[in-house]
């Protein structure tokens, strides 16, 4: 500030200069100087008991803190891997149960067929196979469309404000897109639809859980492959003309989502084991005959009528 300031140009940074240039504790130099003045050698012995005790202490501190500070992350990781393992085990269990159900269903079908043929009730057998086809419990095949949807390529949104992009990434396929497109396919006359191999039966739901799209309570991974059975010509034409088709078109042109429709013959759509109806009971009327074993008249009329009438 004044004319008597130090000659050093970095005089204002004494703290940093001190730290950089004199890293050694100045106490060492001072102690050595005073020892030399009183005629002793500058350095003391470095074998003293206090020194050894401190060395033991330092070692213990190092080991203890390494163990103590490492432990939380490893325990968290253990818990996480345990949870992941449980999820995977449960999923494998569910898959094996589903396979078991499919196998048992085959047995039931065979037993039903033999029982019905033995009683020479071919009308019932035909009814049964027709109903199974309609409710989607058996795999079906036929000409149809394969519609592949995928998220926009990452660089398409690279210049978007990242904060906006995290709030809503327009290039990402969401459950609503799948819902609208599937509705468009039904509207265009599709007779059976599956998404990534999950059959959409009358009780299937397409919904969001966090970041994942769930169909039939199973998370999907991209790309999303929608398979629909129907007359290939009219299906693709009608779909292109209705809401689902125009929505897909706007997704492709505005959001960069990749969508691709191919007509294929044949496509195979797997069956989905039907969920048991617990509450819905058939309404007794002239059209629907009462099923033996159910008490007629107890069912709520409207929902029962809908559930029996609702067919894809």
């Amino acid at each position: 500030m004044t004319a008597t300031h130090s000659h050093r140009p970095d005089g204002s940074m004494t703290l940093i200069t001190e730290m950089m240039e004199r890293p050694l504790d100045p106490g060492y130099a001072a102690a050595a100087e005073s020892r030399q003045r009183s005629g002793l050698p500058a350095a003391t012995s470095h074998q003293g008991p206090m020194l050894v005790a401190i060395a033991v202490l330092i070692g213990a501190v190092l080991a203890t803190s390494a163990l103590a500070l490492r432990a939380p992350t490893t325990s968290a990781r253990q818990i996480k891997s345990a949870l992941v393992g449980r999820i995977e085990a449960s999923r494998a269990h569910a898959d094996s149960q589903t396979r078991l159900i499919a196998g048992l269903r085959d047995e039931i079908n065979k037993a039903q067929a033999t029982a019905l043929s033995q009683q020479s009730q071919s009308g019932l057998a035909a009814d049964l196979s027709r109903l199974e086809l309609v409710t989607g419990t058996v795999p079906v095949t036929g000409p149809g469309l394969v519609l592949t949807l995928d998220d926009a390529p990452a660089q398409a949104n690279a210049n978007v404000d990242p904060r906006l992009a995290t709030a809503f990434d327009g290039g990402k396929v969401i459950a609503r897109d799948l819902q609208i497109i599937v509705n468009g396919l039904w509207q265009a006359g599709a007779e059976a639809i599956s998404v990534n191999g999950h059959r959409l039966t009358e009780r299937a739901a397409i919904r969001f859980a966090g970041e994942a799209i769930l169909v039939n309570y199973r998370p999907l991974v991209r790309p999303y492959v929608i398979t629909a059975i129907g007359d290939p010509g009219s299906l693709s034409v009608d779909f292109a003309e209705n809401d689902g088709g125009s929505y897909l078109q706007s997704l492709k042109s505005n959001n960069g989502i990749r969508g691709d429709i191919q007509a294929r013959d044949p496509v195979v759509i797997p069956g989905e084991p039907a969920l048991a109806l617990r509450e819905a009971k058939p309404v007794q009327s002239s059209v629907t005959k009462p099923v033996p074993g159910t008490t007629p008249g107890r069912a709520p009329a409207n929902t029962a009528a809908q559930s029996t009438e609702a067919s894809p």
Binding site: P23, G27, Y28, A29, A32, A43, A55, V61, A63, A66
Partner: protein, 110 residues
């Protein structure tokens, strides 16, 4: 040589006894480690410089640990604990690096 053996003994004690550190003390452990390392490297450098003094070493180690822990404690009370521990780590880290550089010059002449 004997202090180095002591260091190893301490490491073994810590590893095998595995003493439980109370949770409130855990934020101070990294600071204690850095302060201890600073004292150790300062001591080694003093030995090589020929001006080692055991009393200075012990006092500087203890005071480093205590002051560093106090700064972090104060920071926790003021709500800037993580920033102050970063500061302590930076200062002691710079000292460790320049002491190690000096040790390296002594040992390897480079």
């Amino acid at each position: 040589m004997i202090p180095a053996l002591g260091l190893l003994v301490g490491l073994a004690v810590g590893l095998f006894l595995h003493p439980a550190v109370p949770l409130p003390l855990q934020p101070y452990l990294p600071i204690a480690v850095i302060a201890a390392l600073d004292a150790v490297f300062g001591g080694v450098r003093a030995v090589l410089d020929g001006i080692f003094n055991d009393k200075v070493f012990v006092v500087s180690f203890l005071s480093n640990v205590v002051v560093a822990a106090f700064i972090v404690f104060l920071g926790d009370q003021l709500g800037v604990g993580s920033q102050l521990s970063t500061g302590v780590v930076v200062v002691l880290g710079i000292r460790i690096f320049s002491n190690v550089a000096s040790i390296r010059r002594h040992l390897f002449r480079a």
